[in-house]
């Protein structure tokens, strides 16, 4: 088992949303065993970045992604328009894909132009940059059921290579219609992080990271609240968010494939003042 390179990122914003865990404070408490999931489950969030008409029409993926992105960026204190962004999703908007394929099979010339442009994998990234007036780079990725790890790798790579904060938003939704024959994703799940290259007064958590080759093993979520979300295609993120909630110190490996993992080693948090002293 070899580890390649060593870089670090400093988390300045955390957001989480699932119907049973609508928001990071609720999720964090549930992961720590200090709170219960929402009962009844919450309705999907209404992204305030969109105009009222767009808010109703927005696909679930867009509503989820914009909600968690806005929450994480708000906590980080960065201006939303200042951050490059990475949006990751295993399957994109499965309801829009179901609509497209159903309509193509019956009445292809009646495809809705709006549904078509919402079917692109970067629809959420597009609505985010339009809603926040952000002209920075934005990307949209997919890596099947390692999509969170692949998105985190891309965001952490951008953060380290260009030495600037980066927004990561991750989301997947329920498989609907005939697509559910082959695509297994249950419920709504989204999360976001703002990663910074240096510690600051806003640092919430920090990790050294590297690639580790060799057979990868997915870590099962520890809490019942997280295990209940394991059917969603973005579930590979859950162990990290449990760590963020509990402040555990052990290393965590998120599978990128059967033979490669993203290795995360928590860094003890130093106050910005002591960090400066230590490095001078």
């Amino acid at each position: 088992m070899k580890a390649h390179g060593a870089n670090a990122f400093f988390v300045e914003g955390i957001a989480f949303w699932a119907p049973t865990l609508p928001g990071w404070p609720v999720a964090r408490a549930a992961f720590r065993g200090e709170g219960s999931p929402a009962d009844p489950p919450a309705k999907r969030p209404a992204p305030e970045l969109l105009h009222a008409a767009e808010r109703r029409r927005a696909p679930d993926t867009v509503a989820l992604a914009l909600d968690v992105a806005a929450a994480a960026v708000h906590e980080s204190g960065h201006a939303p328009g200042s951050l490059p962004s990475v949006f990751t999703s295993a399957h994109g908007d499965l309801a829009v894909n179901d609509y497209m394929c159903r309509t193509l099979a019956s009445t292809p010339t009646l495809i809705s132009p709006t549904k078509f442009h919402n079917s692109v994998h970067n629809a959420a990234a597009g609505y985010w940059t339009i809603g926040t007036g952000c002209m920075e780079a934005s990307s949209a990725l997919s890596a099947f059921e390692s999509s969170f790890a692949a998105g985190l790798l891309e965001a952490a790579t951008q953060c380290a290579a260009d030495v600037r904060p980066v927004l990561l938003a991750a989301f997947d939704v329920e498989a609907t219609g005939p697509l559910a024959t082959v695509t297994t994703s249950a419920g709504l799940l989204a999360m976001a992080l703002v990663l910074a290259p240096e510690p600051s007064a806003r640092t919430i958590a920090a990790f050294d990271w590297s690639l580790a080759s060799g057979a990868s093993v997915a870590v099962a979520p520890a809490s019942a609240a997280a295990r209940a979300l394991a059917g969603n295609a973005m579930a590979d993120a859950l162990p990290l968010f449990e760590r963020l909630a509990c402040g555990s110190t052990g290393e965590l490996r998120l599978p990128l494939s059967a033979t490669l993992s993203l290795r995360l080693v928590p860094k003890p948090l130093a106050l910005p003042g002591s960090e400066r002293r230590a490095s001078s």
Partner: protein
């Protein structure tokens, strides 16, 4: 402004388009100023438009161990990998660095959605996908990079980038960052998109499809022609050894250092967002210009150093209007700007890599493509936009890719000597 980057070596590259299998077929079509577009005959109810269709995909068979991945997009990916000895170049890199040290970063807009569309037309009595079209790894965007990683027996980071028509330009940026941080020693980048109902009927719904072969930058242009393509490039941090740089067949390689083709390099890239509209570019081209500024800054050059610009040039009314104005205000009159969409069609998520290949061919062969099908240039065009091809030394090329969601990427390519100065 971003800092300049160290140039990234392009050890091998290939493109398979409607013009044929491999980059030499593309070069021939560009030299002959020939459109490879044909009347649309795709699918059960073809719209009256023209398409850039890759011939023979229906009879491509994947090797037995990869047979479960079968679909039009992965067949085109396989056809593309086999062209120009690309697979052999990747195998050599795998031997050199180890499978875990070679990344796969590929772009696509619709990946294998054509297989999903097929399934919806053949649902069983229970409304489920038919037997034989149920591979869950195919009906998802990552089908492309996942398949290619398996086909190449690589084990490094593997991701599919899907930002519509900038997808396979952005792969160069992601790979450069991985190489710069030392996460990998080489990266297979590129993209594949195939014709499917979603894009033909989707762009038709947006009234962006021309009933005739597309005419980029023509005053009377009336929309795009869709195409399909596969393209790949092998990127390495270190300058490759001479033996690793494939000399074009028939070239006078070996007659002495001066006659050897100089190495090819990615010099820079810029990525930006329009922050304007999902399917219409920013009217002032501000996002595109920002990507251009970042690309030139990473390359450490000024716009005056650019010999050739491969334009996004889709022949949509808006794109060409905005892009023409950008070129007119930013580049010297001597720069030769043209769109190759009239040759290949708009290959969407594969456009970035196809036009990267056209840019690299221009550098290697001292050949500047024209703008096929275009008869009378729009008044918005400056002297840079050319309809006719030309022969001249090409040292630095800029390639533009702009996508839905206002997603922009500009690439800069150059020869070894431009990279070293």
């Amino acid at each position: 402004m971003p800092q300049p980057i160290a140039p990234i070596s392009i050890a091998a590259y290939t493109a398979t388009t409607a013009a044929g299998v491999g980059k030499h077929e593309l070069l021939s079509a560009l030299r002959e100023h020939r459109s490879a577009l044909t009347p649309n005959d795709f699918g059960p109810d073809p719209l009256p438009t023209w398409i850039g269709r890759v011939a023979g995909l229906e009879s491509v068979a994947l090797p037995e161990p990869l047979a479960d991945w079968d679909c039009r997009n992965n067949r085109l990916a396989w056809l593309g990998l086999e062209a120009d000895g690309f697979i052999h170049a990747v195998h050599a890199a795998r031997e050199r660095y180890g499978a875990a040290r070679v990344a796969v970063v590929l772009g696509t807009s619709t990946s294998s959605i054509g297989a999903t569309e097929d399934a919806y037309r053949a649902l069983d009595v229970d409304g489920r996908f038919p037997e034989g079209n149920r591979n869950r790894l195919v009906h998802t965007p990552h089908s492309l990079a996942n398949f290619v990683q398996q086909a190449l027996a690589l084990e490094g980071p593997c991701v599919t980038i899907s930002t519509a028509c900038s997808s396979s330009a952005k792969v160069f940026a992601s790979a450069e960052r991985m190489l710069r941080l030392g996460l990998v020693d080489a990266a297979v980048v590129g993209g594949v998109d195939t014709l499917c109902g979603s894009v033909l009927f989707g762009f038709n719904a947006l009234q962006l499809v021309s009933p005739a072969p597309c005419r980029p930058f023509d005053a009377e242009r009336d929309g795009i022609s869709l195409g399909e393509a596969a393209g790949f490039a092998l990127l390495e941090r270190e300058a490759p050894t001479l033996s690793a740089v494939a000399a074009p067949r028939g070239d006078a390689a070996g007659l002495g250092q001066a006659r050897r083709p100089a190495g090819l390099y990615l010099l820079g890239y810029g990525e930006s967002s329009d922050a304007h509209h999902m399917s219409t570019p920013h009217p002032g081209g501000l996002g595109a210009e920002r990507a251009l500024d970042d690309a030139l800054a990473r390359a450490g050059i000024d716009a005056s150093a650019v010999d050739h610009i491969n334009l996004h040039g889709t022949a949509s009314t808006k794109n060409d209007e905005v892009e023409a104005a950008l070129i007119a205000r930013r580049f010297p009159a001597a720069a030769h700007a043209s769109s190759t969409k009239g040759v290949t069609g708009h290959t969407l998520g594969a456009a970035g890599i196809v036009e990267a290949a056209a840019s690299l061919l221009a550098i290697e062969h001292g050949f500047l493509p024209g703008t096929v099908n275009t008869r009378s240039l729009d008044a918005a065009c400056g002297p840079q936009v050319r309809t006719a091809p030309a022969e001249n030394e090409v040292r630095v090329v800029v390639s533009n890719s702009f996508g839905f969601g206002g997603n922009n990427c500009v690439l800069v390519f150059g020869r070894g000597e431009t990279a070293l100065t």
